[in-house]
Symmetry: C2
Subunit: 125 residues, 2 copies
């Protein structure tokens, strides 16, 4: 069990709860260091071209999910590298995985994406 998230420092929303528009708006109020650290982890996960394209490929897939083999074939990178990027996205709470037989399917976590979107929404400018 090598990767264990300490639940305190990752402010990831659980499940797909409808509390999306709480408008915590990064920009309207100074955030504390702990929140900043948690949010930065998620933005850092988004801060790689490969991972952005992975999200994009998963989301564009009909059914909203894609298996690793499909994703790997879309890049000029080794399979372990893709697996690594998927792990980063999963640890950030942006995607979720689900094994079905031999294949592992990944899908987006919409609430996590919406939450980050809400943070960047400027209240008044």
């Amino acid at each position: 069990m090598p990767i264990q998230l300490s639940p305190g420092d990752l402010p990831v929303v659980a499940g797909t709860g409808p509390d999306v528009c709480a408008r915590p708006a990064l920009v309207s109020d100074p955030i504390d260091e702990a929140s900043a650290a948690g949010l930065a982890q998620v933005f850092r996960a988004l801060g790689d071209p490969v991972r952005l394209r992975l999200l994009s490929l998963i989301g564009a897939r009909e059914g909203g999910e894609a298996c690793v083999c499909d994703l790997t074939s879309a890049f000029d990178l080794s399979q372990p590298t893709i697996s690594h990027h998927l792990r980063v996205l999963r640890e950030a709470g942006l995607i979720d995985s689900d094994r079905r037989g031999t294949w592992v399917y990944y899908r987006l976590v919409p609430s996590a994406l919406e939450r980050m979107a809400g943070l960047l929404s400027v209240p008044l400018g």
Copy 2:
């Protein structure tokens, strides 16, 4: 001249144009490598706790701007380090600077923030 942005791969919005809700939605359509690289730069700029707090401090300031001295005093970091982070945010197009006398004032670029927010908005889930 160590850091030079090639204007092609940074899809930064110029100024505060009102083309905010074009809904390019990262997730609805697979993005190409060039777009991914440009967007990743902006997300990477957001992927640091100090930079998130800087954005937050600037945005929360009345008048929407803050001088470097105010920002530096809010952290336990050296002034060059804060200056470095501000540069990363500026090169990502997230903030803009303006010298008035001895002081340099930074303010948010709302259109850039909105653009990133729009990318993360999930069309249907």
